[in-house]
Amino acid sequence: MSKAMEKTAREPLFSKKNRRLLIDPMNENNPITVQVLGICSALAITVKMKPALVMGISVIVVMAAANVLTSLLRNLIPNRIRIIVQLVVVALMVILVDQVLKAFVYDVSKELSVFVGLIITNCIIMGRIEAFSLGNSPWKAFLDGVGNGVAYAGILLLVAFFRELLGNGTLFDYPIMAQLGVYDMGYTNNGMMLLPPMALIVVAIVIWIQRAKTPSLIEKD
């Protein structure tokens, strides 16, 4: 993936190039299904939709903010300690998000528990800072952060949708399967969907479908 670093004097906010920054990660450059980053959290918190949604939003916020901040500082950061600076910036954002969650959505923060802290080690964030925002303007870095964050959250929600629906019979804790009355017809929840390996299998199916549909991702042998 090559990101042009040229600076045009008056580029419209949503120029074609900028739109690509936002849209590329959704499909052809998806952080989870194409770059295969952030898999551990995709596995851990996709049992239910609600924690997956909160995790997704947290990652979008952290990634956008950290990208903008490092992009603003990009000409000031000493090269030798840049990884440490990136870590500090990400850790700062994550701790702030964690504190805010604890204060305002306590039950969700309990459910996410250590995984909020582990956003720090989410390779997507460090990867985007190192690869993109250290070399681009804040607005581009922001778009890139939001794009990757949304793409990550999207996959998380997609996986959580299947796991919660098939494993628990609910969506956002709403008993949809019971409402449809399928239990009376002899349907039972598949408890295996709630186990971690099924998250990877669902991700793998998503990757399969995506690769089959996207010609640019099909590898020639």
Binding site: N75, L76, R80, V85, V88, L92, L96, V100, A103, Y106
Partner: protein, 247 residues
């Protein structure tokens, strides 16, 4: 300015660390009251949950249902600097049980009296805790809830599920031979035994020790309460029967 000189690198890191430290401490200080309120609310709903009450607004329900919050030491109600609600069980259980100050919550709901006792003990990997509620005879369990910090999912962590907890209601905690509930390996028979969790032996045994350890400090006080209330009921029954006789 050379951003890669040693001088600049040191300067940059010092300034960065100071700014980050200030930001984080400001955030922590500003958000602390909200976080504390959440924890208080959670504790209240846990206490209510032990007598089977779930509410969207635990605060008001707690105030109306919990009629007394006592601190007990050696079978007596004592005046304590720390209120029963704020008493930290993690510290309390470090004191030998005969010298320990423990909180007791008395609830009245639909004309029934319940005693709610907090529990705290050790599982396999970390602390386990919970609440146990007793019926008005102060001996029969009405409800039990357990929780844990990091027991193994699917094994020890099962203590926080209904399958394990639903065994407790109806069991008795004090008898002539034993105080507490025995957690057995699949052969629970008497009304002082429950089945443990397969593969979660150490956590199950932890629950048993926790119950033994945490219930003893209440024994003298609870037995006294029951004795008094039995006398009262007895007098009432006598009064009732004498009234009936007169009529």
């Amino acid at each position: 300015m050379d951003v890669n000189s040693n001088r600049y690198t040191y300067l940059f890191s010092i300034i960065m660390v100071v700014i980050v430290a200030v930001l984080l401490s400001v955030a922590a200080t500003v958000l602390k009251p909200f976080q504390d309120a959440n924890m208080v609310l959670e504790k209240k709903s846990n206490i209510l949950a032990s007598i089977g009450l779930v509410s969207e607004n635990p605060d008001s329900l707690f105030n109306s249902v919990i009629v007394e919050q006592l601190v007990i030491r050696s079978g007596e109600v004592i005046e304590s600097e720390v209120s029963a609600f704020d008493l930290d069980m993690a510290n309390a259980v470090k004191v030998p049980s005969n010298k320990r100050s423990v909180p007791l919550f008395v609830a009245t709901y639909q004309d029934n009296t319940y005693y709610i006792l907090p529990l705290r003990g050790k599982g396999l990997w970390g602390p386990i805790w919970g609440f146990i509620s007793l019926q008005s005879d102060a001996n029969t369990i009405y409800g039990a809830s357990f929780n844990h910090l990091k027991e193994t999912p699917g094994l020890g962590a099962e203590i926080s599920t209904a399958i394990f907890q639903d065994q407790f209601p109806g069991k008795i905690i004090f008898s002539d031979s034993y105080d507490g509930i025995e957690v057995r390996k699949g052969d629970a028979r008497t009304n002082q035994q429950v089945d443990g969790i397969s593969g979660g032996t150490i956590t199950s045994v932890g629950v048993q020790y926790m119950l033994e350890d945490c219930l003893i400090p209440y024994k003298a006080y609870l037995l006294k309460q029951v004795a008094e209330s039995t006398v009262e009921t007895h007098i009432e029954t006598l009064a009732d029967s004498s009234n009936t006789n007169h009529e």
